[in-house]
Amino acid sequence: MINIRNFSIIAHIDHGKSTLSDRLIQATNVVLDRDFQDQILDTMDIERERGITIKSQTICLPYTAKDNQTYMLNLIDTPGHVDFTYEVSRALASCEGALLLIDASQGVEAQTLANLYLAMEHNLKIIPVINKIDLPSADVERIKQQIEDDLGLDPESAILTSAKEGTGIEEVLESIVKDLPPPAGDPEAPLKALIFDSHYDPYRGTVVNFRVFQGRVQAKDVVTFMSNDVAHKVEEVGIFQIVRVPQKQLSAGQVGYLIAGIKTVSDTRCGDTITLRDRPCSASMPGFKEAKPVVFSSIYPVATDGYEELAVGLEKLKLNDASLIYEKDTSVALGFGFRCGFLGLLHLEVVQERLEREYGLSLIMTAPSVRYQLIMNDGSTLIIDNPSLYPDPTKIQTTMEPFIRASIIIPDRYMGPVMKLCLDRRGSNTNYQYLTSSRLEMFFELPLAEVVYDFYDKLKSITKGYGSFDYELKDYKETDLAKLDILINGERVDALSQLVHKDRAVERAKRACEKLRDEIPRQQFKIAVQGAVGGNIIARKTISAFRKDVTAKCYGGDVTRKRKLLEKQKKGKKRMKMVGQVMIPQSAFMSVLKTDTD
């Protein structure tokens, strides 16, 4: 155990975590160079493309240090997005230390801080690493200052690296061995292991990733997961070295996987504790939470016969993604589909993209909604996340909506615009603090519903990319809700309904109508697009009918010009859905969510 180190790399998005992981893997020769590909731990296309990690991955790196001893370094790669904070916290709970990676030109950002706090909660030893020192814009001294001022860490302990060029990798490995403590725990005690992730293997069932805190586990042991008490007979235990390497046993301090013929990942909950059925440990690992979706949206296939395929696609995704929940839903406009719950908007986008890419589906997603609590006149409470289930408003006594506590770090010159953005989104500023003389951390209470759309994009744009954002869910607060309906040619299109704050209803309705007017192509007749609350029309736009316009001549270069025009018009309109008499492109459904015209 003395030769084991369990560590994570925590970083803001784009600070080079995947590249650093790649270098550590290469330096320890776990993978032959010819088998190596960049971002090796990010196995999904979406992860590589967006430069984010969605699933946690682990890898066990054998490293012979300068003291001539060989160490097993377990790198637990964590998801890099606020949607997956809970998963990150479980992965961190499995470590003794963490590399805190900071971009040498970007410096400390909101996720850096949020992750650092998470790591500190788990009493991890932190090694600051300043990465991308090869960049011309790198400013190591300024970053060191931030490490001292913003993070309260010893700047002199920071290791300078350029993961891209392979500089400083040896120092990082040595520091992991020297500065991080080895794991502790009694191998003879009853088994106690923490699940921090799981994924599905079509041949073997669920592969559970875990860290053993005490005791040991081996094939043929009967284990139970403490949250649901279901027993499984272990078929195989092992460690990850990109591929699974079976081991005779895993004991206290080790990180690895087990396979036990588990059919779905839903039985395997992140944060749950594994113990032996016949010799259980006395208490489970602290901090276990059920994954709670916070954003809800309905997914419909564009093709009317696509429902079965969608059902299969969701089922398969769910095998690997316990936090995705869904149930059947129907819409008058769109037919059969599913109401889905997500951890956040990124999670929603990832699911959508994977369904479209991996299962070849064309989808329409409805406006994301949060979960509201309605206290009815008769005293009962109704939980609602779907506008179509919104009851008669006269029967509602009080409506409660979820709020978050947002932390936003910005250069202080953006204080005004950020303040305005958050206030516009019904936020309130709780306080702020200067991290350095010019960098500010601001705290806001914001309704979750206001940040699930395009808040982050907006923040990025008004701060020219310098703003960073992190949040945690806080509590429910009283609110004034209205159901905004969209009528197309007098017909209510249920899939376009949204739950909005009353004060924002008119503005939202106007924007939605404008967006729809721009997105819905002209048809043979005039189309009225209206926004309504209750029976009252609060916004209207008209899409005029087909225009008679006999086109110009079309020879030679005219063909190219015309095609380019068509390509421009076509953008995002591939998938159309007939709603009543009107063809509505898929892009129209998403467009109403955008609160801004840009």
């Binding site: 192509p521 002209r522 048809q523 043979q524 087909f546 225009r547 008679k548 316009d549 006999v550 086109t551 110009a552 001549k553 079309c554 020879y555 030679g556 270069g557 063909v559 190219t560 015309k562 095609r563 068509l566 390509e567 018009q569 076509k570 309109k573 591939k574 159309m576 007939m578 008499q581 063809m583 492109p585």
Partner: protein, 350 residues
């Protein structure tokens, strides 16, 4: 001619040569003859190729026309545009209405058996009556082919600038579509069949060997719409050989300098993807009365045409804007009025 030389490796057999764009009839018959000769030297041009020369009425004489014919031209395309003096003035044309009359007459007398007239309509203030009178005058010498183009206001042109300044009021959409429909109907009654939005060919029922309609359609024009390969020479000219389209330098001095230096003067090219080809097949197909040849479309793109576009087609058929037969999908007359609105609906489904 330098360009011809440089491009002589283009492995095509040509059944049409078109000398046009601008006013090549400013050149004498001898020059045109030399151009045709040079083309024959550089390219494999079929014996019975359609060889068209574009002429403006103000640049020709009976002798010149005679000379063009002897030089190898067998089809004359006359840029009449209008027979109305006011309209000719509005369009900035240099010829008079009687020049226009004479041009047709002389061309016929010079022995041309394939004559095309270009006309423009939809001119501000133009009534249906006035336009039909123009058509009537055009038909006086029974040309084999008519191209009737609607006036368009291309951004950047002096005409468009005057329009924006409010110097005149363009006809409204309803009047324009009324003129468009009248054109098709009037010409049909006079034995001319529309085969493309702006193109009409005389139906010669007495010719039993080749149906006259087929014969009188412009070989040249149709190449643009049927994905036939073509080679363009001269500044801005476009060439096409599926899936590639390429075009020359638009700037004349640059074009000349490049060629003088022994280099080809291309300024752009595009490789058309499957979906781009599909888009063009739809757009260009629907411009033609024959419509999209669905069987060929399916073969080329390996899709089920009806299935791919069913969402749109059904509605359009119901409204009488499109009609599908077993292997054609074409706009109706009414549908043609909405070409620019209908095409995006189909294109969006690619």
């Amino acid at each position: 001619m330098i360009e011809m030389n440089l491009k002589s490796g283009f492995a095509l057999t040509f059944d049409s040569l078109y000398i046009g764009g601008g006013t090549p009839s400013v050149f004498g018959a001898e020059t045109i003859g030399r151009i045709i000769e040079a083309a024959h030297r550089s390219f494999n041009i079929l014996k019975d190729a359609e060889i068209t020369l574009e002429v403006n009425p103000d640049t020709i004489t009976p002798e010149k026309l005679e000379g063009f014919r002897r030089g190898g031209v067998n089809r004359i395309n006359i840029g009449v545009q209008s027979y109305n003096p006011e309209n000719l003035n509005f369009l900035g044309r240099l010829h008079s209405d009687s020049d226009a009359d004479l041009a047709g007459k002389w061309a016929r007398e010079a022995g041309f058996e394939n004559i095309c007239l270009d006309l423009i309509y939809g001119i501000p203030g133009q009534t249906k009556k006035a336009w039909v009178a123009d058509l009537e005058r055009a038909l006086s010498f029974a040309p084999e082919h008519l191209s009737c183009y609607l006036l368009t206001y291309e951004p950047g042109t002096p005409l468009d600038a005057s329009r924006q300044k409010g110097r005149f009021h363009p006809l409204n959409d309803d009047k324009i579509s009324d003129l468009f429909t009248s054109t098709i109907e009037f010409l049909a009654a006079r034995g001319y069949a529309q085969y493309e939005m702006s193109n009409f060919a005389r139906i010669d029922s007495d010719n039993t060997e080749k149906p006259g309609f087929e014969q009188n359609r412009s070989r040249h024009n149709r190449k643009y719409w049927l994905f036939t390969p073509y080679l363009g020479l001269g500044p801005t000219s476009h060439s096409f050989k599926e899936p590639e389209r390429f075009w020359n330098q638009p700037d004349v001095p640059d074009y000349i300098n490049e060629l003088a230096a022994g280099r080809l003067p291309p300024s752009g090219r595009e490789m058309l993807s499957r979906s781009q080809l599909m888009m063009e097949a739809i757009y260009l197909g629907l411009r033609q009365t024959e419509g999209i040849r669905t069987e060929a479309f399916e073969e080329k793109f390996a899709v089920d045409f009806q299935r791919q576009f069913s969402d749109t087609l059904e509605g359009l058929e119901e409204k009488g804007l499109i009609r599908s037969t077993q292997n054609r999908c074409a706009l109706t007359h009414k549908g043609m009025l909405f070409l620019d609105s209908i095409v995006p609906l189909l294109v969006n489904q690619i």
